[in-house]
């Protein structure tokens, strides 16, 4: 579903991604790990189309279409969702209103009928129940005055409602205590399905205890230096990122 080949990207003239290649198939959960500054968040932002990032080389296709040529809103309509590391506050805009505008904009772009407020409310109520969301959060302004944990849960809630085909979670675990982490992970696990792919970006192995990935990739200095299954994450946890760096020249020789 997602195919990244030799992706080079920079921001502010500085090259961050240096030839990254990766494939995600429907139903797979891929974890991207790596030290700070490796380019993890850049990858998420480039895929979602955040302005300011310049792709200098390489291709990204989503279901065969050139993802890099699409506006952010078109990518969303195509089914790409980015759960933000730092969700943004929009004062005065009601959360439910925002979600309905988003869902209907996507549906319209896909040529589907828009939901009226009754249908939408029904859907929201069902999702609130599924996700164990505090219904009160829906009546507040988008992320305004939310705690760190509430913001992250709201991201997962949005994801549940928008039902993307590819969900990118950018350090969704950062700043969460263990209870909030478990809730967020449970929300994500509930959304795992054979036709949905996940890209879980994280600094710590901890999250992967709860969201068990099919593949783990280590990103260092703008490129994937090692790939494996869930065990790789545990080894990383035991040895630290320095271990990968030490092994890298050896592999290159092999």
């Amino acid at each position: 579903m997602l195919k990244i080949e030799n992706l080079h990207a920079r921001i502010g003239g500085k090259e961050i991604l240096k030839g990254l290649s990766l494939q995600v198939k429907a139903g797979e959960v891929h974890a991207i790990m790596g030290p700070n500054g490796a380019g993890k968040s850049t990858l998420g932002n480039v895929l979602a189309g955040r302005p300011g990032y310049e792709v200098t080389e390489g291709t990204v296709t989503f279901d065969g279409a050139n993802l890099l040529g699409m506006e952010p809103e078109a990518r969303a309509a195509a089914g790409v969702f980015l759960a933000f590391q730092y969700p943004v506050e929009i004062p005065g805009v009601n959360n439910t209103y925002f979600l309905r505008a988003a869902l209907n904009a996507q549906r319209k772009a896909r040529g589907e009928a828009e939901l009226d407020s009754v249908e939408f409310l029904k859907l929201v109520r069902a999702k609130v129940k599924d996700m164990g969301m505090t219904p009160e959060l829906l009546n507040r302004a988008v992320n305004e005055g939310f705690s760190g944990g509430e913001k992250k849960r709201n991201e997962v809630f949005q994801m549940a409602l928008l039902e993307p085909r590819l969900a990118i979670l950018d350090e969704t675990d950062s700043g969460l205590d263990i209870d909030a982490l478990k809730q967020v992970a449970a929300g994500v696990n509930a959304l795992r399905s054979p036709d949905r792919g996940f890209l879980v970006i994280t600094h710590y192995q901890r999250l992967l205890d709860y969201i068990v990935p099919d593949f783990v990739h280590v990103l260092a200095d703008g490129t994937i230096v090692e790939s494996g299954d869930a065990r790789l994450a545990r080894e990383l946890e035991a040895h630290g990122y320095a271990w990968v760096r030490e092994r890298r020249p050896a592999e290159a020789d092999a």
């Binding site: 990518r75 730092y86 929009i90 988003a102």
Partner: protein, 480 residues
């Protein structure tokens, strides 16, 4: 990577002004120019009593001695007052709605202000002012049953002379300022509202002002009197055709609230703002003031301003009665080359008086948007309270937003609070919306709408919807 193509940008920047049509209707206009003869002619045309003519002449003589204000944060070429026609009216003056020229009715239909009997289901009584005169006034019989007078100012001068004489100029004196003096000399028409003691006005009252003729000034005068224990909600809407030259609009609005009376005055102002190069547009120089004359009275101004090339306007409250309350809620949006210098004055005179100011300024393009507010607490205003909240939002890098708060406190028990913020629509907010599937322009409207929520809540329902749409249209092409 996501840079908008220059062509798209240009296309998006050509902003729509839906109300910019001209109605081809036979009009009678006074030739341009202003002297005492003009005033005599104007007064005669309107069949005014002598006291009115004298009042106008007195104002004119004052005006001659005054100089235009220079303190506002506005760039403005001198106005040639001799090039303006001070009176323009459709030739066939109707006596009732049935006689109104169909073209006029059509013009108001286009604006979304239907005047026909059948369309008047919304519970709103409408007075429509076309250039200098009031052309239609709906629902007046229904209002008369409860003793409410809602008619054109010209008619009030003829039919309710005593009331007009008592109150006209009692809130905004002739010599108050340059444009108020001019208006007092040459005002053509406007609305007059009288709510008798204890009456809650059974419907929203609304006046729709439209400038149609070219080279004409519109100088309307509105006077609202709410007697003890009465209540009224009044709405005002404004539009004008697109023209290359600037047109002058210098209105005066006076509100008088006696004991326990409550006046709510809402404005959606959409005068033609000029084109994207700053050519044309209305100069909107308006004096609006309400006096809480009686104890426990209340006056609330709510305005949504998106139009005019230049706006100079400070709806104010004089809180004379004890425990009286004044409120000002404002959204002012400027785009392209528009300039707005707007705000309010709250003058606390009585004891335990309260005022609240909420101002939201939105600047886009190369526009300049200033908030100017005065909170004045007199020496006898024991326990006066004011809270001011003043937020501005900038869209793009070439616009400006300015805040000029003035506070004068002469009583030590007063509490005056001021909060202010300036922010940009952040790239993060925009990207967040877009990454959820919401297009760029919709995202901007949504963010701006959220920003204005506090003020929109104060508007009557239908107006709130209109105001929201107006902002959306006005913001088209603001991002690039």
């Amino acid at each position: 990577m996501m840079a908008t193509q220059p062509d798209e940008l240009q296309a998006a920047l050509s902003r729509r002004y839906d109300a910019g049509f001209v109605t081809d209707i036979e009009a009678f206009s006074l030739p341009p120019g202003l002297d005492e003869d003009t005033i005599h002619a104007l007064s005669a045309l309107k069949e005014e009593p002598e006291w009115m003519t004298d009042w106008r002449l007195q104002a004119y003589r004052r005006w001659l001695k005054m100089a235009p204000p220079a303190w506002a944060h506005l760039k403005l070429a001198p106005i040639d007052f001799q090039a303006i026609s001070y009176y323009s009216a459709p030739k066939n003056r109707p006596k009732s709605l049935d006689e109104v020229d169909p073209k006029l009715l059509e013009a108001y239909d286009k604006l979304g202000v239907p005047l026909h009997e059948r369309a008047r289901l919304a519970g709103v009584a409408v007075d429509a002012v076309f250039d200098s005169v009031s052309v239609a006034n709906t629902a007046r019989d229904q209002l008369a049953k409860v003793g409410v007078i809602f008619c054109s100012m010209s008619e009030a001068i003829r039919e309710h002379g005593d009331l007009v004489r008592e109150y006209l100029g009692s809130v905004v004196p002739q010599g108050d300022n340059y444009f108020a003096a001019l208006n007092s000399a040459v005002f053509s028409d406007g609305s007059f509202v009288f709510i008798p003691e204890g009456v809650r006005c059974p419907m929203e009252l609304s006046t729709y002002f439209r400038i149609n003729a070219g080279h004409t000034g519109q100088f309307e005068r509105t006077l609202i009197i709410a007697e003890a224990g009465s209540m009224v909600s009044y709405l005002e809407g404004c539009t004008a055709p697109m023209r290359d030259d600037n047109q002058l609009h210098a209105a005066v609005v006076e509100l008088v609230a006696l004991e326990r009376a409550n006046i709510k005055y809402s404005t959606v102002q959409n005068w033609y703002p000029g084109d994207e190069n700053g050519k044309g547009g209305i100069y909107n120089f308006v004096t609006k003031r309400g006096e809480c004359r009686g104890d426990d009275s209340r006056i609330s101004w709510t305005q949504v301003e998106t139009g005019s090339a230049i706006t100079w306007k400070y709806p104010s409250c004089v809180l004379r009665g004890d425990r009286s309350v004044g409120e000002f809620h404002s959204v002012a949006l400027t785009h392209h080359h528009q300039q707005a210098d707007t705000g309010t004055k709250m003058v606390h005179i009585g004891r335990d008086t309260k005022s609240k100011i909420v101002s939201k300024g939105i600047s886009a393009g190369r526009s300049q948007n200033s908030y100017r507010g005065l909170v004045k607490v007199g020496k006898d205003a024991v326990n006066a309270r004011n809270h001011t909240r003043c937020d501005s939002i900038l869209i793009g890098k070439q616009c400006g937003s300015h805040t000029f708060p003035y506070v004068e406190v002469k009583n030590p028990t007063a509490i005056v609070e001021h909060e202010a913020s300036t922010s940009k629509i952040s790239d993060d907010q925009l990207f967040y919306c877009r990454s959820r599937g919401i297009g760029e322009e919709d995202a901007v409207s949504m963010i701006v709408d959220g920003f204005c929520k506090q003020v929109f809540r104060e508007l009557p329902m239908e107006f709130a919807v209109e105001a929201k749409k107006l902002l959306e249209v006005s913001l088209e092409g603001a991002i690039g």
